[in-house]
Symmetry: C2
C-alpha cells in the first residue's frame, strides 16, 4: 500500500492503473488510499468535454491531447461510456483509442461504464480524477455524451465545461438544453466546414442570449474541424485563458464538488452502517418483502430505523 502510494505519486502509470482498480472495485483499502492521496490533489485543471454521439468528440479530444503533449503536459482522460450492464464497459473504444497513445507514458486513458458504481458515477469519477491528479496528470479530461442527469453531474464537477456541437443534427440544440446549457463555459462547433455551421452558431448564440441575462457572461463559441486539426490550438488556448481568468468560479465549483462528494460518501457509509447495526440477519429482506406486498410502507419502515439512531456530539 505504502509502496503503491509512492509509485503513484511519482507518476508511474502502472501504479495509477492499480490504484484505479482498487477504487473501482471498492476494495477495503480504497478509503485509506483516497484519504492519503487527497492532500496531493487539487492541482490539475479538470476539463469536462461533452457532446452527442457523432459530434466527433473522440477526434477532437485526441487532437487536444496531441497539442497538450506538444506543450509537454501529461494528460489524463476519463471516458464515460453509456455502456451496457451486460458488456460491462466499452472496452473496445478504450482499446482503439489507446493504440494512438499506447507508447506515450504522458497520456493515461481510462474508460468507465455508466453502470454499477457504488455511490454513483459522479463519486467514482471524482475518485479517479483525484488519483490521476496525485499522479501528476494535468490537465485531466472527463469525456461524456452528456445526456443523463448522472452524466451532467459528472461534467458539472469539472473546472471548465466544453460542449461540442455539430451542424446538421437537428436535435442538437434541443438535446443540449438538457441542463448543460447553463453550466457550459465554452461551446465548440466541430465539423464546422459542413453546411449549416453558421446557422447553428447563430441559433446557439440566440439561445445563449436568453439563458445568460448578463451579456458578459455569455460563453464563447469556437469553430473546429478536428480531423484536419483546424481550430484545436485556439480551443486549447481559449480553455487555458478561461481557467486562468475565472478563479472565483473555479473556487465555487470546487466547493460544490467538495459538498456533493461529502454528502455522497456520508449517505453511502451511513446507510450501510445503520442497516448493519440496526437490523438482524434476514430482517432487511423481510422489510423489503413487506413493502413489496404493501404490508408496510417505506416511509414507516425508515421511521422505525431512524428511531434507533442516536447522535452523540
Amino acid at each position: 500500500m505504502q509502496d503503491l502510494l509512492a509509485r503513484l505519486t511519482s507518476g508511474e502509470p502502472r501504479a495509477l492503473a492499480r490504484a484505479i482498480s482498487v477504487v473501482e472495485e471498492g476494495a477495503a483499502d480504497a478509503d485509506a488510499l483516497l484519504s492519503t492521496v487527497f492532500p496531493k490533489t487539487g492541482r490539475a485543471m479538470v476539463l469536462g468535454v461533452t457532446g452527442s454521439p457523432g459530434a466527433g468528440k473522440s477526434s477532437l479530444v485526441d487532437r487536444l491531447i496531441h497539442h497538450y503533449r506538444r506543450a509537454e503536459r501529461r494528460v489524463g482522460v476519463v471516458a464515460i461510456d453509456p455502456s451496457s450492464a451486460y458488456s460491462g464497459g466499452a472496452i473496445l473504444g478504450d482499446r482503439i483509442r489507446m493504440q494512438e497513445h499506447a507508447s506515450d507514458d504522458g497520456v493515461f486513458i481510462r474508460s468507465m461504464a455508466t453502470r454499477g458504481h457504488l455511490g454513483g458515477l459522479a463519486k467514482t469519477t471524482s475518485d479517479v480524477v483525484d488519483l490521476m491528479d496525485a499522479a501528476g496528470y494535468d490537465p485531466i479530461l472527463i469525456e461524456t455524451v452528456g445526456v443523463g442527469q448522472d452524466e451532467i453531474d459528472v461534467v458539472r464537477a469539472a473546472d471548465i465545461v466544453v460542449v461540442l456541437l455539430v451542424p446538421g443534427m437537428g436535435d442538437d440544440i434541443q438535446a443540449i438544453k438538457a441542463g448543460i446549457l447553463e453550466i457550459a463555459d465554452l461551446f465548440v462547433v466541430n465539423k464546422s466546414d459542413r453546411p449549416g455551421a453558421d446557422r447553428l452558431i447563430a441559433d446557439l448564440d440566440f439561445v445563449l442570449g436568453l439563458v445568460h441575462g448578463i451579456p458578459g457572461e455569455k460563453p464563447q463559441i469556437l469553430k473546429t474541424v478536428a480531423i484536419r486539426d483546424e481550430g484545436v490550438v485556439e480551443m486549447r488556448d481559449a480553455i487555458d485563458t478561461l481557467y486562468e481568468g475565472r478563479i472565483d468560479r473555479r473556487r465555487e465549483r470546487r466547493r460544490e464538488r467538495a459538498k456533493s462528494r461529502f454528502h455522497a460518501i456520508l449517505a453511502e457509509r451511513l446507510t450501510a452502517r445503520v442497516l448493519h447495526d440496526a437490523l438482524g440477519e434476514g430482517e432487511e429482506s423481510s422489510i423489503i418483502d413487506a413493502i413489496a406486498d404493501r404490508k408496510t410502507d417505506p416511509y414507516r419502515a425508515v421511521e422505525r430505523i431512524l428511531a434507533s439512531v442516536k447522535v452523540t456530539s
Copy 2:
C-alpha cells in the same frame, strides 16, 4: 389532509394534481400522505416506454392511450423530460399533449423535469406512480428518452419495459445498448413503413440473441406506424399478455423497486438527520471549505461523523 386523501382515492383528478404537488415540493405532509396512500397501491400495471427523441414516442403513447380508453381503462402518464435546469420543466410539451385529452377525466398526464428531485428522479417517479395508482389509474405509463442512468433506473421500476426504435437513425441500436437492452420486455419498431425497417429488425434480433442466452427469453419485436394507428392494438394486447404471463418477473421487479425505494428514503432521511444532530451551526460549511482547500479529505470527515452515531436495537 384527510379530505385530500378521500378525494384522491375516489379518483378526483384535481385532488391527484394537488397530491402530486405536495410530494414534488417535498412539503412536510408528503411523507404522511405517501404513507397513508401506500396500502391502496400496487394494483396498476406500470408500463415503461422509452426511445430516442424522434422515434415517435409521443404519437405512439397517444394512440396507446386512445386504445386503453376504448377499453374503458383510466390511464395515468408520467412523462420524464430531460429539461433544462433553467426552464424548470417541459411545460410546453405537457400543454400540447394535454389538449388532446383535456376534456377526458380518464387520462391524467404529468410531465416531470429530470432535474432537482430530492432523493432522485426514480424516487419521485415512484411516488407519483403511487398517487396515480391510489387514484385508480391503470395502466400507468412512464415515458422517458431513456438515455441517462437515472432514466434507466426510472424505467427499470416498471412492470413492463417497452423500447421504441425507428429505422434510419444509425445510432439507434448503439444508443439502446446503454443498459436498456437487458431490461426490455418488448421492442417496437415505429415508422415501420420507412426503408430500413426490416434491416433494423434483423440487426436487433441478432443483438438480442447475443444478450439473451436462452432463446425463450428473447423479447418480441413488433412493428407500428403510430400516425396511421397501425399495429397499436396489437402492441397493447402484447403488453397485456406479457403482464399476465410474467407473474414471477413482475414480483421480482416489484421487490427490486421496494428495495431501491427503501434504500433511497433511508439514505436521504438518515443523512439529513445525522448532519443536523452531529454538526453545529456553520460546521458543515467549514467541513466543506476544508475539503475544497484539501485541508481534510471527505473520507476522514465522514469517519469523524460516523463515530458519533450509535445504533440501539
